[in-house]
Amino acid sequence: MDPAGIISGIRLPRVLTAFCVGGSLAIAGAAMQALFRNPMADPYILGTSSGGALGAAMAVVFFGGLGMPLFAWAGAVLAILIVWSIAGRQGIIPVETLLLTGIAVSFFFSAIVSFLIAIAGENVHQIIFWLMGGLWNVSGTDALLTAAVLVPVSFILFFMGRDLNALSLGEETAAHLGIDAIRARWVVLGSSTLVTAVAVSVAGSIGFIGLVTPHIVRIILGPDNRIVIPGAVLLGGIILVWSDTLARTFFSDLPVGIITAFIGAPFFLWLIRQRGVNT
């Protein structure tokens, strides 16, 4: 392949996908943290990653790895639907119930994934690599798919920035401030789980970005979600592009999740020391 073909056919889609996946995870993380009023929330909190992992593992074990992204996406969506149907049974539910349901479903799915790893035999490394997350086989279609979901979700969440601000002080507070809290909750949950599911199906469960990027944005730009949301998209995208470049260039294409955590965590610790923990 000529150099121009490598850039346009392989590198460019990979960089674009990395940006969109990083942006997706970070924006979903920011939205979840506001909604759950919990700075420790991440995009995987409702079982998205364990659902995706289950789908991917099943594809590996039963179909020799064929259609892994599709299976991963189906698994992620399945996990969310299960959480919603269990937690949403009584109509209006406290977000805490949603959170606990997500954790329980995650553990259940993880148990099945562990079981599949145990019986996967020689294909086990495929599952392990998927679990760590990476962007080895992305194509132009992946770049288009992730962008097609991220762009509208970014606009929706940006224009819901004030609702997120109010929701982050409590749903009852938001309601008293004239915000349709229940509707806002479902819009936020729906759009952020959608971007997460797509990101997971394309790149596996890349850790760290969704949890920490919103904090970095808040430390630098303040906690107003009208700023945190676009900031998270940009910074999440940039972090994953650079992490993926590092992984590809210096570490013979290690799973990028290792890089994000390995480089990102010390950097985050340094930032906390510099600026204080009040995010």
Binding site: P39, R162, L169, E172, H176, L177, G178, P223, D224, N278
Partner: protein
């Protein structure tokens, strides 16, 4: 029904399947400051949250003749504001950012907040004395500062109906009265203010109307004077209180009574008659009542604060209407009480021609029964307004064996001595 009236009919609400409040019917009109009171766990906050639609309720709840359930979130937010007692602070917003949240519903999500929104928020911060906190992170605020910021946010929301859950629970004395004066002012200007109160005296001082909630039901509804009676308080709170009209504010206030030891002590069961007036006796009556003495007092005018104390303590009191001369009948009653009592204590109270007959009655009893309470810095002459007549009677009693006591403790010492002990030689 008038505008801005919040009206509840047969409203029940609670958590899960348990109703905390049941069948509550009440109406709130503009220009009234209503206090919701009641013991812990009675359903005050539940009622407030149900009124604000934060808690689903059964029954009918209308605002301006329209069911509250028919309002959109934004419509309701325009007319009804709510101040929680406290609120989580997971992120470090600035004070200004939090107050500006009240302006969201008046701004399109596609537009920026206007300078007018900032101006309104600043005014609200000034009204609650938090203007200097504008740029502070909410995580660094004290409980009282945060509570005032939450009140500022509700003010910036510009609603005609304002619901507050114990708005002064974290505030010091100065800020308590500042915030409540502000709320009083808002209600005078036509707002409907409904607040849960823990402190009954503050509620009585500032509210036009009190609703007493007990076991999830309305146990009293009316002016503070109507609702705050020793009976209703005993029933609702299980506490003994005395109520009175405060001389300076003209408002009802109440004081808890210290636990009375009702077990009578044989040695202390002898009767004591207290002659007092003008508030000089109430402390002593409480002091002696706590020690389970069998007491009587009088003659007192019914508007005398000592009379109120005696009534509150259930002490038999020979009373007569204000500014009426003492009748033969009343004086006979006094003479009986004095002869039956083992001790007669006379407080340092002003003696004029009106109450001179009471002092004269002392001439008919054993002077050894008499104890004169003369606190430090007073003497017999300083309570005499009869040109020496009363003073002469009292001095003669002292010579004949009556005793002086500058403190309550010394009164106790004299009482505990056998009546016919010889007074100590000086």
């Amino acid at each position: 029904m008038t505008r801005d009236t919040l009206h509840a009919l047969g409203m029940s609400a609670g958590y899960g399947t348990t109703d905390i409040i049941e069948q509550i019917s009440c109406s709130f009109s503009p220009g009234t400051f209503t206090g919701i009171i009641g013991p812990n766990g009675s359903g005050k906050t539940t009622l407030l949250r149900a009124l604000s639609r934060a808690l689903p309720c059964s029954g009918l709840l209308t605002l301006n003749d329209k069911p509250v359930s028919a309002y959109t979130a934004a419509e309701l937010g325009m007319v009804l504001g709510f101040v929680p007692q406290d609120e989580e602070r997971p992120f470090s917003y600035s004070v200004m950012q939090v107050v500006l949240m009240a302006r969201y519903l008046r701004t399109s999500r596609f537009a920026a907040l206007s300078p007018a929104d900032y101006e309104r928020s600043r005014t609200a911060l000034r009204q609650t004395g938090t203007a200097d906190l504008e740029n502070r992170s909410i995580k660094t605020l004290s409980g009282g500062e945060w509570q005032r910021v939450l009140i500022a946010r509700a003010l910036a929301q510009d609603t005609r109906v304002l619901l507050l859950d114990e708005p002064t629970s974290h505030l010091d004395l100065g800020h308590q009265s500042e915030i409540l004066t502000l709320l009083r002012h808002l209600s005078d200007e036509g707002s409907t203010i409904i607040a849960v109160f823990h402190d009954l005296n503050l509620a009585a001082l500032f509210c036009d109307r009190l609703i007493l909630i007990r076991n999830g039901r309305v146990a009293g509804d009316g002016t503070p004077a109507q609702v705050l009676t020793p009976q209703t308080i005993r029933e609702a709170y299980g506490a003994d209180v005395v109520t009175a009209r405060h001389p300076a504010t003209g408002r009802t206030y109440l004081m808890p009574m210290t636990g009375t030891d009702r077990t009578t002590n044989e040695r202390l069961s002898e009767g004591i008659h207290v002659i007092c007036g003008g508030g000089t006796g109430s402390d002593l009556l409480h002091f002696l009542a706590r020690r389970a003495f069998s007491l009587s007092t009088g003659i007192l005018a019914t508007n005398d604060s000592d009379h109120s104390a005696a009534t509150a303590l259930d002490i038999p009191c020979i009373a007569l209407p204000p500014f009426t001369p003492m009748s033969e009948e009343t004086l006979d009653e006094l003479a009986t009480a004095l002869s039956r009592a083992s001790h007669v204590i006379i407080t340092h109270h002003p003696i004029g021609t009106g109450n001179l007959p009471v002092i004269r009655a002392l001439e008919g009893i054993d002077p050894k029964k008499i104890i004169l309470h003369l606190p430090e810095g007073t003497n017999i002459a300083s309570c005499d307004f009869t040109g020496g007549v009363a003073a002469r009677i009292l001095e003669e009693a002292l010579v004949a064996g009556a005793r002086c006591a500058p403190t309550f403790t010394e009164i106790l010492v004299h009482i505990s001595k056998k009546i016919h002990d010889k007074p100590e030689e000086l």
